[in-house]
């Protein structure tokens, strides 16, 4: 799972149903709107050291709504 390049996370708003798994596992990378639906923080760039959390968030989303873009 170790990535060499920079990572970005993105929540697909059409798929997210507000399970909140990403926010629970990686609060540094995701935030919730007033309905509890998730979106990536800022432009989604994953700071160094948080790569594992990004993959954890992705692999625990029941709706497959979290994407990781390797740049």
């Amino acid at each position: 799972m170790a990535a060499t390049g920079k990572l970005k996370v993105r929540v697909d708003p059409d798929k997210c149903q507000g399970h909140n798994r990403c926010k629970a596992l990686a609060p540094e990378l995701f935030e919730l709107d007033e309905y509890g639906n998730a979106r990536e923080k800022g432009d989604g760039t994953v700071p160094a050291g948080l790569e594992e959390k990004a993959y954890l968030a992705k692999s625990n989303c029941p709706e497959f709504a979290v994407e990781i873009i390797e740049t």
């Binding site: 149903q17 507000g18 399970h19 909140n20 007033e34 309905y35 509890g36 692999s59 625990n60 029941p62």
Partner: protein, 391 residues
């Protein structure tokens, strides 16, 4: 319901009220997944049972062919008892759901945590010195009842009444619809009183919130308010009661997991998700409204589909070692709270209640074991209804 003829064959004559299914459904589902991944029964006027994750997911996502206007499989078709948004389809579903989401965000739930912890300890106080307890009756069931009453602004002491209605709707009402209807009528009268009271004198509670919320500049109809209250009360109680009970049942039988959780409290969120996967309490249903085919099986309009999130969660194609409870399981896309647009609105409340219930119990009573026969509920929600423990 002991007079029901036993299921002759799980693939073609299954019966989710059969005592074998109620007591231990997992081997039955394993067999179904291998032999006949979408089973069918002529009982209950025709029901399909997908047992694989992919097929459960396909049905949950397909709101065109599978309607939520009936979400419980019963012996006879019930008069509709609307409880939006759970009984709604698109396009009505979304606005009804948007109304209910803000009061159940993780931030909103955090405010309830102190009450939840105090409540758990009040309950433990009552049996801590005794050395035995029925963890289902004296503990698990009381936490969600009182917390949802607290949120709605209803008397916490009316718990017995709520449990009576829930049993009438979700258990007794499966074979005798008139019982479900009667419960619904009683609930309506009960809620009317509080709706009237809070209309005159609003408080900081969910009844007042629903009366005053104006999603499109318009307040909800009183039918919608009552329907949503009915949903919150029914959906918010025996579901989490079952979830908490199953956690305690597992921990009573698995001292290694219990001790590890006590020693590594940071593992708790991951463990709770695993308990949710392995012992998902809720099986929903859909009505087939247009003929369609999934995985080679034709679904006929008018028949029902049991949407078993618990069976999906045990599919080894989706979850390696699906039959093992692994409290540090890293990848866990479990479907305990449903998939798609009907994701359980109260999932954050359920997680809070389960976490608090297990944490406080382990703090006060770190060592306990089973002390007698465990009985399980039948039908829509599965969990221990008698759970004797000793410590």
């Amino acid at each position: 319901m002991s007079q029901r003829p036993p299921a002759k064959d799980w693939a073609t004559d299954f019966d989710h009220l059969d005592p074998r299914w109620v007591n231990d459904p997992f081997p039955i589902w394993d067999e179904m997944r291998k032999q006949c991944p979408i089973a069918h029964t002529n009982r209950f006027m025709g029901v399909y049972f997908p047992s694989r994750y992919a097929d459960v997911r396909a049905v949950a996502y397909d709101t065109e062919h599978f309607s939520s206007r009936r979400i419980i499989v019963r012996e006879t078709p019930p008069p509709r008892i609307p409880a939006p948004p759970i009984t709604s389809d698109p396009p009505e579903h979304r606005p009804a759901r948007m109304v209910l989401l803000p009061p159940f965000t993780p931030d909103a739930m955090r405010k309830l945590e102190p009450r939840a912890r105090a409540l758990a300890n009040e309950l433990i106080d009552k049996f801590a010195q005794r050395g035995t307890a029925d963890a289902a009756v004296e503990y698990a069931q009381e936490i969600p009842v009182r917390l949802i009453a607290h949120m709605l602004g209803l008397p916490e002491s009316d718990g017995d009444l709520y449990r009576k209605w829930i049993k009438m709707v979700l258990e007794d009402g499966i074979t005798d619809v008139s019982i479900a209807v009667q419960a619904s009528t009683e609930m309506q009268h009960y809620f009317m009183r509080y709706v009237q009271e809070r209309t005159e004198k609003p408080g900081d509670d969910l009844v007042s919130y629903l009366i005053n919320v104006k999603p499109n500049g318009q307040p909800l109809t009183s039918e919608n308010v009552i329907g949503s209250l009915r949903l919150l009360l029914i959906a918010g109680i025996d579901t989490t009661w079952s979830g908490i009970g199953s956690c305690i049942w597992h921990l009573a039988k698995h001292p290694e997991d219990r001790r590890r959780l006590a020693a590594e409290p940071k593992l708790m969120p991951t463990a709770i998700e695993e308990f949710l996967r392995a012992y998902a309490p809720v099986t929903m249903a859909r009505e087939v409204v247009k003929e369609t085919e999934i995985n080679g099986c034709t679904f006929k309009p008018g028949e029902m589909v049991l949407l078993s999130f618990p069976a999906a969660n045990r599919d080894p194609e989706m979850f390696p070692d699906a039959d093992k409870v692994i409290i540090d399981r890293k990848e866990n896309r479990h479907a305990a709270f449903g998939l798609g647009i009907h994701r359980c609105v109260g999932s954050n409340l359920a997680r809070l209640e389960m976490t608090v219930a297990v944490e406080e119990l382990l703090k006060r009573i770190p060592e306990f074991s089973l002390a007698g026969e465990v009985t399980w509920s039948e039908g829509t929600v599965r969990g221990p209804r008698r759970l004797p423990i000793k410590f």
